[in-house]
């Protein structure tokens, strides 16, 4: 970093390798390098301890044994910094698709019982390491075990205290909206409000006819069913008729939502602007999977959602509620992470047998490397979606053994998320809202002096 306090000229980044040197001077680039430099400075040992570590390593080489590790001693380490702040400016968590996949390194396939129990173990671990959100998918075909989301989420609710329970996604196309209204209002009550949902359409063709629907109606189903779901939660007695479901006359969905406030809803879509439009129309959240495709797709969808959110009068574009997925695998040394994850990546459902790990890492948001690399990459998401409210990581998939997933969650919760919390919070302007929670929605409702029924009258 080149500073010139005397001239007052802006800072410049100086890079050098074997054959070239270069200078970076755009504000965004300088900012990222400054941040990285500061983080590394924070993590580094002081000169005396550095000397001690080097001497130990030398001795170990001489003695052909492993050197004892000296813990970092600076006042702010990646392990500790920010872990007690818990300001919750932004929510961090994990999402699972609930697949039963053989471990390609051992050939072993977990039983359905093992996989379901592992979801619970993973959720409890998420709370233990200080994450905010656990979201699970919904599927109605093998190799998945998550056909009944509120059963597992309800069980997890009973064993946790703070964790927000969510979905990734709830199939608004093929699930009866009446059943969604009932199930998730029930979950709200037993979980004391720690519930929200993410709506998705589902892209498994045969699931639609199994539930009496047609995949070509995906968007109209999402539009009609969600409109009915909103009314079921907001109006005590509903008369309704539509294209896809038997009509309702004098129907009351029970239990009524906790405190009269329905769960917050996110809408997830990889590439359908109509779904971003739906989220914007209602002032709901928009979540981008942000795993399978290049970040440019995410950016287009989020920009569109933010613009339409403002168009519909819910606030300025930068106040729209945005969530992102992400996928990481971490070890202390990035080469170890790559070596361990590669056999899982190479045959992973969805993207295996295609681009190499290196290609996929450069083309999509996947990061396989050190915790520091994950921090850097994740902070970079903000550069193309703006300040956002929720970051979920996919951690348990492709046959990774439970033990490994739990280790990953330790690293995520202890080394990565505390730094992300601090850094994102420092960057976020005051007028950008936090991620909505049951408490914040109740408070907003009370402050506005409106009732859910009054809101229903306008929508």
């Amino acid at each position: 970093m080149l500073n010139s306090p005397a001239s007052g000229a802006p800072d410049v980044v100086y890079l050098e390798n074997k054959t070239r040197i270069s200078f970076l001077d755009t504000e965004a680039e300088v900012h990222r390098y400054t941040r990285a430099f500061d983080l590394i400075s924070d993590m580094a040992l002081d000169p005396d301890r550095s000397r001690a570590v080097l001497e130990d390593e030398l001795a170990a080489l001489g003695n052909d044994r492993v050197a004892p590790r000296v813990p970092p001693a600076s006042s702010c380490t990646l392990n500790q910094c920010g872990s007690d702040e818990r300001e919750h400016e932004m929510q961090f968590g994990i999402f699972t698709v609930g697949d039963v996949t053989p471990d390609p390194t051992t050939g072993r396939t977990p039983t359905e019982a093992e996989r379901l129990k592992s979801l619970v173990t993973i959720a409890l671990k998420a709370e233990e390491v200080g994450l905010d959100v656990f979201a699970q998918g919904q599927h109605h075909n093998p190799p998945f075990v998550v056909s009944s989301p509120t059963t597992t989420l309800g069980y997890i609710a009973a064993k946790t205290e703070k964790l927000v329970l969510s979905t990734s996604t709830t199939l608004i196309t093929t699930t009866d909206p009446v059943k969604i209204a009932e199930d998730f209002a029930t979950l709200q009550h037993v979980a004391d409000g720690r519930v929200d949902l993410m709506m998705g359409r589902g892209n498994t063709g045969p699931v639609y006819p199994w539930f009496g629907k047609d995949i070509r109606d995906g968007i109209p189903l999402a539009v009609e069913n969600y409109q009915l779901l909103r009314r079921l939660w907001r109006e005590d007695v509903v008369d309704w008729s539509g294209q896809f479901r038997t009509p309702l006359q004098g129907f009351t969905s029970t239990p009524r939502p906790l405190d009269g406030v329905p769960p917050f809803v996110w809408h997830g879509s990889i590439r359908s602007p109509q779904i971003a439009e739906q989220a914007a129309y209602y002032g709901d959240g928009f979540f981008h999977n942000h795993i399978f495709w290049p970040a440019s797709h995410t950016q287009q969808m989020v920009e569109f959602y933010r613009r339409r959110f403002e168009h519909y009068g819910h606030g300025s574009a930068d106040q729209a509620i945005v969530g992102l997925g992400g996928q990481v695998f971490m070890r202390k040394n990035s080469q170890d992470a790559v070596k361990e994850f590669r056999p899982y990546f190479d045959v992973a459902p969805v993207y295996g047998h295609g681009p190499s790990l290196e290609e996929f890492t450069s083309q999509t948001p996947l990061t396989v490397g050190s915790p520091q690399q994950v921090i850097e990459r994740t902070l970079g998401f903000r550069d193309y979606v703006g300040d956002y409210q929720r970051q979920l990581f996919l951690m348990d998939h492709a046959g990774l053994p439970l033990k490994t997933v739990l280790e990953q969650l330790d690293i995520l919760g202890e080394e990565v998320v505390p730094v992300l919390r601090r850094e994102f919070a420092a960057l976020k302007p005051a007028h950008v809202p936090d991620a909505p929670t049951h408490a914040s929605l109740v408070a907003a409702r009370d402050a506005a002096g409106s009732t859910p029924v009054a809101e229903a009258a306008t929508r």
């Binding site: 539009v223 009609e224 439009e277 290049p294 168009h311 993207y351 681009p355 290609e359 083309q363």
Partner: protein
Amino acid sequence: MTTRTIAVVSAGLSNPSSTRLLADRLATATVAALRARGEDATVEVVELREHARDLADDLTSGFANESLQAAIDAVVGADAVIAVTPVFSASYSGLFKTFFDVLDQDALIGTPVLLGATAGTARHSLALEYAMRPLFAYLRAVPVPTGVFAAGEDWAGGGSTALADRVDRAAGELADSLTGRPAATRPADPFADPTTSFEELLTGR
């Protein structure tokens, strides 16, 4: 003077390839035919061999990498397409088909296309008509009436101008289909503000 963009898609595998040779002749003849009609043209060639792995990756990952996306953009944004494939196992090659498989279904609607194919012998020549033409009909592109097939013997020459005549006739048909047309417009931006309001979506089923 209007400048047209012509995208050439060549699925030849060897280098040099007779498929590319035919593609180049079709492109040169088309540019000449457009000049004769008072229009200029730029030609962009997409060699599918260079994107063989990109295409396989797109099939498994569901998205085009940067290099393939540039090729797709060149073809989708062109005023006309010259598509040339070797005949393998009685049809267009798998590589050729894969490229058109990863395009959006609507990407070539209304685009004039000149069809070309190569093979060792003339026995494969009807592959142009029973395999290639239906593919572009499905895509709702507009293939010109003359497709150009070149067998090994066509390159022998021997004083015959048969191949050159077919090339010129097909190029003239492609040029005719372009003159008087407005320049190609990019596909509609899916992220433009919707023309249908969400209220209409809710009520106007």
